[in-house]
């Protein structure tokens, strides 16, 4: 290879040794024209044209081929050209001159386009100034880099999402009721039909109320909070008759629930689309490539000395881990059959153990819920004990979610996976544990609600214990959210601050082993996704929950920022920004999917309470929609029935499957083409080098021939007959 490559060895003291190479268009793209160059000593900096592909034409050094003036619509914007400022200004003036030659219609179009662009830029800048927490996030980025930044921008996204959900719920369900009492609307309340099912004993406290009762009520949503806008049971409105139309509250309630779930889905998918596209295009078979770490590893945003030091050490750690992973891959490839059997058996045993641990936790949650429900039905005894019983499910869930990640990270070390896979798998298990625990809680609640003394419940649910079961479920969700918030605050104040104090002031071995708190991004993300899942499920039963959630995440932002700045050092295992964005949104989507299941079951399957809420006149909550559809005009009704009928659904499904297969096939074809082009590129490069080498050889032999011909002619004219050997003059191979 060396002989071919010798054409490329430029001695760094002077210009490159082959003028041919300099004339190649691909070289011209990045040629540095230094002051001593042959281009006449112009003061221009290098790089005349970037890789503009087919939309530009090249200017050859020797040839005077002028650039073809392109049509304005095909030109790239000037700011994207890799030229110096003076060149760009000259280009701009040139383009403006060209514009003057156009017809007045085209000129007007150009001007409007320019003003619209300016307007758009100004409005974008104004919107960005209004962005929430812009300054704080800037500071965090400078101190800790883009990995942790992605966590905080995710938190900001959740605040906005919750606020929008609250606005939806408020605007379509609460606002009409509030307006109707002040405007001329006539509210029709749901009448109780006197049956046993619609008997709802009032829960407001009477008589002398002890002070701590109010605290219990505030923390568990009972008492004075139960009959407010906070819970489902208060919305006992059937319809509001305005002068011109009737506003059906039950319909609005169901449709807003579906709407906020759809809105969340669309917003999350849109946000993850950018990251997902990039993941699809790459066909990486390794976790993160070396090139990515070297060339895109350093965060240019870092301005803090400590952060720079930490970033350096984390990059070092990553590179060492990658080298280690290469070694492990080679070790795995070299495993014997017997070793493989042993490892698979071990993995099976450990997975069974993990499943057993999960089952135990779920059973504990189930029993805790049932115990808590039973104790709530009895008379209140001790204030503190009652509160503990109310919060028992939350306490058990939090304990389980604290212990199981530790166990999982211990177990996975024995399973002998590659480090990258270990991280992913542990995370998957933790995600499943967190989100499934909510499902188990709901399941155990429902088993309590739908079980009566006899075999079948009279009203479809246990109306003696739970006259208004939706409010009860809403209260449980409310308690979960409050407890989650308390735990985040308490963990920061009671665990992280003391830890920092101990580590900085104490010098004992224990403090050194414990070390300073690391801001572990995956666990923090799971925490807030858990809270968001509760919000999604709970909004149907507790319409003000999104507002509480917005306020909670707002405060959590400041708590986390404070603890990050004061107590934490960044994790030694850094979380990359690109993959982390995708990871956050993927986990959020799993949470959304998990939230849809209980809601769908409860709206469509479980009998709604007859004593409270907007659906008193219906057996199941979903029935309001078919009922409304049947009251629509015939044409619309027929259309809607056709859309929801089976033939249509099956056809739609088949067409979607066909579209998906087509797109997958297209992606496969593109991948093949990309591989072929890559091979072709490599081949072209080798061809080019081969041809240049041949050309140089031909040039050299031509010069040698002409030199020797000249010398023999000169020597022939020498009278002394002595061979005058002149030193070879500087040949044309040197520029």
């Amino acid at each position: 290879m060396d002989s071919v490559d010798s054409v490329f060895y430029s001695d760094h003291s002077g210009p490159s040794s082959n003028p041919l190479l300099d004339q190649l268009p691909s070289y011209q793209s990045l040629l540095y024209r230094r002051k001593s160059s042959t281009s006449g000593g112009t003061k221009r900096r290098g790089s005349s044209r970037g890789r503009l592909g087919s939309s530009s034409s090249w200017r050859w050094k020797g040839d005077k081929v002028e650039e073809r003036p392109k049509a304005p619509s095909l030109q790239r914007p000037i700011r994207e050209l890799p030229k110096t400022m003076e060149e760009k200004r000259r280009d701009r003036e040139q383009r403006m001159e060209q514009d003057k030659d156009l017809s007045s219609w085209k000129q007007w179009r150009q001007n409007t386009r320019r003003t619209l662009k300016r307007l758009k830029e100004d409005s974008v800048e104004m919107l960005r100034a209004l962005e929430l927490w812009r300054g704080d996030i800037h500071v965090i980025e400078g101190m800790f880099g883009t990995g942790i930044l992605s966590y905080f921008s995710f938190l900001r996204f959740l605040v906005l999402l919750n606020f929008v959900i609250f606005l939806l719920m408020f605007g379509f369900v609460m606002l009409p009721i509030i307006i109707a009492t002040h405007a001329s609307g006539n509210i029709t309340f749901n009448r109780s039909d006197g049956s046993e099912c619609s008997n709802y004993p009032s829960t407001s406290r009477r008589g002398l109320v002890v002070f701590h009762q109010y605290i219990t009520d505030l923390l568990s949503g009972t008492g004075f909070l139960e009959e407010t806008y906070l819970f489902y049971g208060y919305y006992k409105v059937e319809a509001i008759r305005f002068p011109r139309f009737t506003y059906s509250i039950p319909l609005a309630y169901v449709l807003v629930t579906v709407a906020y779930l759809l809105l969340s889905l669309i917003w999350i998918v849109k946000r993850s689309a950018a990251g997902f596209k990039r993941n699809l295009v790459q066909d990486e078979d390794r976790f993160q490539s070396f090139c990515n770490k070297i060339f895109a590893g350093w965060d240019f945003c870092i301005t803090n000395e400590n952060a720079a030091r930490l970033k350096r050490s984390s990059l070092l750690y990553e590179l060492k881990t990658d080298l280690e992973e290469e070694r492990i891959k080679q070790k795995i490839a070299g495993r014997t059959r017997r070793e493989k059997c042993r490892i698979y058996l071990l993995r099976l045993v450990l997975n069974v153990f993990v499943v057993a641990v999960l089952a135990t936790c779920f059973y504990c949650i189930y029993r805790a819920t049932i115990h808590s429900q039973q104790s709530q039905m009895q008379r209140p005894t001790n204030f503190i004990l009652d509160l503990i019983y109310e919060y028992l499910p939350s306490i058990v869930i939090t304990l389980a979610n604290f212990i199981t990640p530790l166990m999982f990270s211990l177990i996975i070390q024995f399973e002998d996976y590659s480090p990258a896979f270990e991280i992913r798998f542990t995370l998957l298990r933790c995600v499943f544990m967190r989100l499934a625990s909510i499902g188990v809680l709901l399941f155990s609640l429902w088993s309590q609600i739908t079980s009566c003394e006899g075999s079948k419940c009279q009203c479809g649910y246990n109306h003696t214990l739970y006259p208004c079961w939706e409010t009860h479920v809403g209260q449980e969700m409310y308690k979960l959210m409050i407890f989650d918030f308390i735990i985040i605050g308490a963990a920061t104040v009671l665990v992280e601050f003391p830890r920092k104090l101990i580590v900085t002031h104490c010098d004992c071995g224990l403090a050194k082993w414990w070390g300073q708190q690391e801001f572990a991004i995956p666990q923090n993300v799971l925490e807030i996704v858990y809270g968001q899942t509760i919000c999604w499920i709970g909004t149907f039963y507790c319409p003000l929950l999104p507002a509480i959630s917005t306020i909670k995440y707002f405060i959590v932002f400041y708590i986390k920022k404070m603890t990050l700045v004061n107590n934490c050092r960044p994790a030694t295992r850094p979380f990359r920004a690109s993959s982390s964005n995708f990871f956050f949104l993927a986990v959020l989507l799993i949470g959304l999917a998990l939230a849809c299941v209980p809601l769908a079951v409860s709206i469509a399957e479980i009998d709604c309470s007859q004593a409270c809420g907007p659906f008193v006149n219906y057996t199941k909550s979903w029935e309001v929609v078919p009922h409304t559809v049947s009251q629509l005009p015939n044409g619309l009704q027929g259309f809607l029935r056709a859309i929801s009928s089976e033939p249509f659904a099956v056809t739609f499904f088949v067409i979607t499957c066909l579209a998906m297969f087509y797109v997958i096939a297209l992606a496969g074809a593109h991948k093949r083409v990309v591989n072929q082009l890559r091979e072709q590129l490599a081949m072209e490069g080798r061809d080019k080098r081969f041809l240049i080498q041949k050309l140089c050889q031909a040039q050299r032999s031509l010069q040698v021939h002409s030199r020797s011909a000249r010398e023999s002619a000169q020597n022939y004219s020498d009278p002394g007959g002595v061979f005058l050997v002149r030193p070879p003059s500087d040949s044309a191979t040197h520029a």
Binding site: M85, R92, N292, A296, G685
Partner: protein, 187 residues
Amino acid sequence: MGNKQTIFTDEQLDAYQDCTFFTRKEILRLHGRYHELAPHLVPMDYTNDPDVKLPLALIVNMPELKENPFRNRIVESFSEDGQGNLSFNDFVDMFSVLSEMAPRELKAIYAFKIYDFNTDNFICKEDLEKTLNKLTREELTPEEVNLVCEKAIEEADLDGDSKLSFADFENMISRAPDFLSTFHIRI
């Protein structure tokens, strides 16, 4: 809107707005930053395009660049003379390319220049070794450095000459997911 500034003419600001990714306010702010690097050298009045260049040593001490291991190379790549002396135009150009709104292709061109230490239009193994040593402050052993550089070239080199031309580099950057988010400086 508000008080009329006398640092630039309106045409100059328009030209800057077209040629960079900054708005008028940001360009004025950049001028303030440039001025405070050397208040006695940099005039407040740029309406007649004064020819003032600030040396490399002043610019690499800016807080945004101070901790960057490639600060010298960055400033050299954007300077006309290749020695790191930046005029205000070069200064604005540098931060414009490194801002969030610059497209990937443009950033890739300048990234190639930055990482090409010996300016021979190739990123050869020595350039890679220098990059790696600047990144890790030479805390990797020489064998590890060698191994990493070999693996990186193996990943990115398409035409088989065991160094990276711009085509190789651009192709590799298009597959590097972190490039856009890390190759940017906020000012």
